[in-house]
Amino acid sequence: MKKPLLDIQNLHVALPEGSQRPYAVRDASMTLHQNEILCVVGESGSGKSLTARAVMGLLPRPHVHIAKGAIDFQGEDLATVSDARMREIRGSEISMIFQEPMTALNPVMTIGRQIDEVFRFHRAMTSKKRREQAIKLLDDVHLPDPDKIVDAHPHELSGGQRQRAMIAMALALDPKILIADEPTTALDVTTQAQILKLIKEMQEAHNTGVLFITHDFGVVADIADKVVVMQGGEVVETGTADAILNHPQHPYTRDLIRAVPSLTPRPPRNRNVEPVLKVENLDKVFGGGRSFFGFGAEARKVHAVQDVSFEVRRGETLGIVGESGSGKSTVARCIVRLIDADSGRILLEDTDLRPLGRAALRPWRAKIQMVFQDPFASLNPRRKVGAIISQGLRLMGRSAKEAEGRTRELLDIVGLDERAYDRFPHEFSGGQRQRIGIARALALDPEVLVADEPVSALDVSIQAQILTLLDEIRDRMNLTMVFITHDLRVAAQVCDQLVVMRYGQVVEAGLTGEIFANPKHSYTQELLGAVPGKHWDPQATALSA
């Protein structure tokens, strides 16, 4: 067997004293060969990103540093190499692409100049030659009009284009190793598919070894040759992609794979005939106002929602899926009246909520409640959990004692300890906070629950628990749900009906099973085709394991 390109042996990365654990990465070993994609998978806090940063010499020293172990790169130990040598290696021999291309690129420099810098620091070339080379690189990563893009600033490009430019920059000096830290997490699913394809293509063309950090097993299934699974700073399992994905040995890997929602929609349930919520011809335009008493420049108009109609029956879950900017969240906020729609009707039990004023709306507020996306921003950090959940009850005029009793009951329903009542939100993990958010939404016994990406900020195993909880609650309380998501895997497991949105419009609507089996609109087909790891069924693995 050939000597590996990168050989990490017993790597320990120490955290500052007083942290939750002494080592962020403990005794991690892995090898990366030429022309191979090694995926490091794990949930948040698994130490996968710090492992990558240790290789690049980008740890936030001195607080976080390599305590023990060796990182062998072609006979040099990167754990002990001098800073000057590390600078030479970075960019020319090992380079890195990051999760958020907007923050990784300098906003006031043109793309061309940023690529130019890489050449200037590492190679002696004339400026004309450097520019030609930069244009060629941009062409290699399939950016349209490389002659123009070379003089463009980062904000003029889309997210996917920026990530392509990052890749061009990373590959400028033909490095032996490319480290990719969640490079597609911030991108939409169709863009993600293109970027993954590009990384694979570039890796094959340049014979690069790629160290790919991700939390998404779908992405692993699409591009990995070998996989390392990390948990709590330790490597729990290493193997070929086929072995890990289809025959996982370690119980943690099995749990993780079991938690990945399958793309096969669950069997349809019996449908109720009674419609609870009807949305008709909803329209919303943002902007258009003028600042400075109407004398300022007109703000740019965005038609966020255009003529959206759908109907949800009692006990059903309607999924609204779409990419960023599709208007799906705006629809959700219009329904709960956080945003006032411009026209259309929002019928809850045959009452149109849209034109109601504050006072008239108040009795209806309780019937339609919302679960938010970000479990960290959705709870007031200065209030105790009990107060957060019971505030709605108190506003509706219940006595303090009644509200407290109901709140404790709710904590039990969402699977939290009763002691949570007197604690502050920061004492809880993301998943637990999301449970608190759900309890708050349930406090007023709503008819309709609007959930805006309730699991997208959570790790996959927590995500599975929250989805199960939402399912249980829906059945138990006969709730009707509107579920906003960008993740088709989640939609397949949760929703009875789907509405696919793009640019503020509904492009396709129907039963989940039918849309997955037979998508009619080309955009739906594109979305379904872009889901990472679509040829791999985690549930089949889970069953066989």
């Binding site: 309780a366 919302m370 938010f372 007031n380």
Partner: protein
Amino acid sequence: MSDFWKRFARNRQAIFGLSILGVVIVMAATAQFMFPADPFSLAGRSMSPPGENGFLLGSDSLGRDVAAGIAHGAKTSLFIGLVATLVAVFIGVIMGALAGYYGGWIDDILMRTTEMFQTIPSFVFAILLVAIMKPSIESIIVAIAVVSWPAVARLVRGEFLSLRNREFVQACHTVGMSDVRIMLGEILPNCLSPIIVIGSLMVATAILIESGLAFLGLGDPNIMSWGFQIGAGRTLLRSAWWICTFPGIAILLTVLAINLVGEGLNDALNPRLRERS
């Protein structure tokens, strides 16, 4: 609370500032017992250097005790600094909260008003206000408050702007909470830290403005003040240096102390560090 104190105590400068401030407060509180006589009264020979004729810090051209003036002046400075700041913070929070929370034309009106106040140099504005009303402790407090609130208003507006779209605030809307309750009960507690910090620094500025006004003879004629002492001694600076010097040091140390405490509060209350913990 103990957690907060630990973070505050880690900053040595802040502790240094706090101890000086403590001395000034004790001085103000005990002035009546240490120097029971009226600080304006003639206590002995005029122009006595420090340590002579029973004057610890000397006496001025009329034979008034400089030390007594400093002790009683401490009371004035702290009182005016605190009250003026409280008034300014009160006005600033209301204006900033309304502007940031509602936005639109309310924001336009309130912020353009704020800018109008900010375009006039604050000390000149304060002189003008005191000169129009007649010099008294109330008019000085009003003048200082009027020139200081815009900074608070801008800060609070910014905080409200960023907090009003947070999901926890939206969650309050979905249960039908009233605007006043959301502003006071949900948003305001989350921006208390920066308000406390700016407030503490404003006390120092207020003391400086008060001294400046008194120096120019616009202080309350019945109340002893550090600025008044310096003003009274400025013509004698070469023959009797102590009349100006000691009140000047008192102002310097007090303002320095409050600034150090303010910095310490800023470090200890820094919301970014808090949220990540």
